[in-house]
Amino acid sequence: MTDIQLSYDLDTKWLPNYLYSDNIIFLGVFFPEINVAQNRDLIMEEDLQFINDTLRGNFNSFERLVDKYQGRIYRHLRKMVTDASLAEDLLQDTFLSAYRGLNGFTGASSFSTWLFRIATNAALMYLRRERPETVEYDDKIFSELSEVLPPSPTFVATPLEILLSMEGKAKIEEAIDQLPVIYKSVVVLRDVEGFSLEEVASIVGASIPAVKSRLHRARNIVRETLTSYYMEKGLSRNL
């Protein structure tokens, strides 16, 4: 048996810049991209080791992969289908499919991209079958309906500890949950999971321009929801 090798070019732009900022300064900040690429390389080397060990019959290595990724996959599925019980079923299906398909993993993408593709396809198959109205969404209609909220300083002036408090996090979840599935999936994969645009496109089976367009709309819808919420709450210390 030939081991799978790390064989693709590293994309140093795989994570968005704001994840490396100090959360205060964005423009002109230095981003340690080389270290990110090296870290990513190490993560993928470790995954490949687990995969090769699994293929040699070591089931414990597969369980290490499950331990490593179940949190992110479960979060992604919860966002896609909302229902916790269904997300659990899909979580189990995803890892079983991954195990059964591990021989077909070539290393052409990262293991996480491959795994998220399986999970996304499982969720989309379910939604197309059981809730087709949630998947068949017209980009154009949504674009025409959405109105731009006047800018307000309230949201950006709200301290991060409030934005990320239990209540703040619940509002973020709610804002994402209200998005159509095609928008929700890209914003979760890009902004929550940190996949590159190319990886998101590969996972959801869309073109990069389509992903960018959906991301633009999704982010602005979430932004407007959060802006409205904090304007109403008046939680800013500056008010």
Binding site: Y18, Y74, Q92, L96, Y99, I176, V187, N220, V222, L226
Partner: protein, 78 residues
């Protein structure tokens, strides 16, 4: 002449480093002199930041246990 909406339509790509150097300069110059657009940019950046930080990846213990059992039974049956 670009309008505010044109700049705002590019902010998501700007956050993702998807724009060319010239376009970045134009946006940065615009944001410096246009307070409403700067506010939209800041709120968009804050949105992306809180999304990246705000959603837990914790798996309930019972879900974790059932997943492990499910895989042990079904994978080993293969």
């Amino acid at each position: 002449m670009k309008k505010c909406k044109d700049f705002c339509d590019q902010l998501s790509d700007y956050l993702d480093n998807e724009l060319g150097a010239n376009e970045c300069v134009l946006i940065e110059e615009h944001l410096e002199k246009c307070a409403p657009c700067a506010l939209i940019f800041e709120s968009l950046r804050t949105t992306v930041l809180v999304c990246s930080e705000g959603i837990s990846d914790k798996v309930p213990d019972e879900v974790r246990v059932r997943l492990k059992e499910f895989l042990r039974i079904n994978c080993r049956a293969d």
